[in-house]
Amino acid sequence: MTSSPLTRRTFLKATLAGGAIAGAPRPLRAQPKPFRIAAVHPVTGPLAEPGQACRLGAQLAVEAVNAGGGIKSKGGMPLELLLGDTQSKPENGRIEAERLVNQGAQMLLGSFDSGSTAAMVSVAQQKRVPFLIDIAAADPITANVARSVKEGQQKVQYVYRNFPTGSTFGRKAVQYFTEIFAEAKVTPKRVALMHCNDLFGVNQSRGFLAAYKAAKPPWTLLEDDVIPWPEPPSDLSTEVARLKALKPDVISPITRPASALLLLPEIRKQRIESLGIVGPGSPGLYEAGQIAALKEDLEYVMASNPWPNFRSPKTQRLAEDYQKRSGGRLFDTNSGYSYDAVFVIADVLERAAKLDDPDAIVEAIQKTSYTAGLMQYGGPVHFNEIGDNPNAIPTMIQILKAKPVAVWPKDAALQKFVFPRPKA
């Protein structure tokens, strides 16, 4: 408790006379003082699974930075994570960010879902705390801040993002579909889109539809027969029966992990014949648990997701380490982007002129060009005038022999894709 900031302590004492529960004593730290980063993620509630992956990714990265001697230009200053939980509720994004800044956090990191991320933006801008978004796809989060800076309502933009935006997801998915179909020498006339009807699914399918309309590819999407389902679903048999009636060439689902567990077996049970299942974005299809549960139903399924660059030995080493630390889970989109975010922050701190001035940190963020990321990027990590990294892109992955493998774009591919899928 000795290292707790005074305001916090007096406040707790004042409001809660009975709040004298003994906190765990913290060891005295060696000099120099660590740089504190607030990592806010949804580690409980409906988004607990990805949120916990983000947290662990960030924790491993901080350990790696500190083991490598901390921030060298600042006398080997170590990093310290202050952990926050949004419970998957937006209002907690704000209060957790405030709490951790009050405990001494000098930068914000988070927060997986776009709602609580937007709530954290207000803390970043009001309190002048630089905020690096590790995951959150909604375009307006950064674009809105950039606009108010441009219009002169805000002086400085404190919010930056290293993650593909919703529109990037849609554009890239349509591009990959077109390229893969061309390479496989097929022109599907009936691509059926299905999606979970939550915020994520609706935004993904809208981005995909908009990009499809803009790109006018040679293949045909059944735009008027999009099949949504309530998330989490209790039963998808009627939705799949509808899908069957569409006689699809290609089935294109946007699923959450729980709905994938229902959807794919149902497609097999109802014996829908198609060239294959290719999704424009389905988190959680590639988890070890999912693959064990779905087995042959998941074989040959493709999905466009942000994906670690497993061609790099560094990524492979970390993935092994992550698997050990997480109890057998795969190093993936969430853990990977949170891991990279911490390293981007370390890179920024290394270059920042001074650390007690948030504007100096922002200046360093704007000059970022980081190439050692573990994720698959289209180029070095840098931030454009909106505050987004245009090189953050998804990769098409496919489940082959019960393992997720990057198959497209070509320069990221570990193996060639298998499409159309072989008949059983």
Partner: protein, 278 residues
């Protein structure tokens, strides 16, 4: 004894406006949310507490208010200050297909956005005090008496010639109107709206539990409840959210909730009132 209690309450109240100048902004945020939930709990109290009509759908009113204010501001440039007044005008367009709204952060007070978080504190404080004033006033009027009568025995009330439906309806309208105002505040405090969070049952639950803990159907109950529960949640988070035990702080919070119910089975305010009457 009773005088002492009132004096203490007034003194505490007089100190609230000073909080931002004494404490850091974390305390300000915490208090802002305490006031905000106190406000919502109080609005719910009119229907749920006084009239005894358990409404679990209050998040929907909040959602409508939040969406309307956001939409008017984002699409039409209407200031939320105005939006807060005309929220009751339900805007069907606002609900049609809106999937998550993000509000541009500008810090422009004319758009109900403040560079300084303390402004929200005062707005929330005033909102909470105003609605408490309304409830305290109503409690003494015929309207409030009728509502309590409806809660205690609706058929007896009807037998005495009270149009119970009309009063329940009025209570509901007033309550949802106030909750809608809360929604406008919510939208511009958090700068984003997601249907799942502003219309969802978890938010309704958040609103209700504060009023119940403090004592439903009493003037100060919802506010007291908000002052009890929010710090408990923070305390649980402060001590148990670190480390690898994801969810431990919510287990602790749940246990605290159970403990509060077992120790204050009739609600905090009635208990306090009894203590002081002695």
């Amino acid at each position: 004894m009773r005088r002492v209690a009132i004096a203490a309450a007034v003194a505490l109240l007089a100190m609230l406006p000073l909080v931002p100048s004494v404490f850091g902004s974390y305390a300000v945020t915490l208090f802002t949310l305490i006031f905000f939930y106190g406000f919502l709990g109080q609005a719910w109290n009119i229907v749920g507490g006084y009239a005894g009509q358990l409404s679990a759908g209050h998040a929907a009113f909040l959602g409508i208010g939040a969406y309307t204010a956001a939409l008017l501001s984002v699409e039409r440039g209407v200031t939320p200050w105005l939006g807060m007044c005309r929220i009751i005008v339900s805007n069907t367009e606002a609900l049609g297909g809106a999937v998550g709204y993000y509000i541009t952060f500008t810090g422009d007070p004319r758009q109900f956005q403040f560079q300084d978080a303390r402004a929200y504190y005062y707005v929330a404080l005033v909102m909470m005090l105003a609605v408490t004033g309304i409830v305290a006033w109503l409690e003494r009027r015929r309207f409030g008496v009728y509502l309590s009568a409806i809660r205690e025995d609706e058929s007896a009330c009807e037998a005495l010639g009270v149009n119970t439906f009309r009063y329940k309806m009025l209570a509901m309208m007033l309550s949802s109107f106030l909750t809608g105002i809360g929604g406008a505040f919510y939208a511009f405090y958090l700068f984003s709206l997601q249907p799942a969070s502003v219309f969802g049952i978890p938010l309704s639950v958040e609103i209700i539990i504060r009023a119940i803990v403090g004592g439903a159907g009493t003037v100060l109950g919802p506010i007291l409840g908000s002052f009890i529960l929010s710090p408990l949640a923070e305390l649980a988070r402060y001590y148990f959210a670190q480390g690898g035990w994801h969810g431990a702080h919510l287990v602790v919070y749940g246990l605290l909730l159970i403990a509060v119910v077992l120790f204050l089975p009739e609600g905090a305010y009635p208990r306090l009132a009894r203590l002081f009457r002695r």
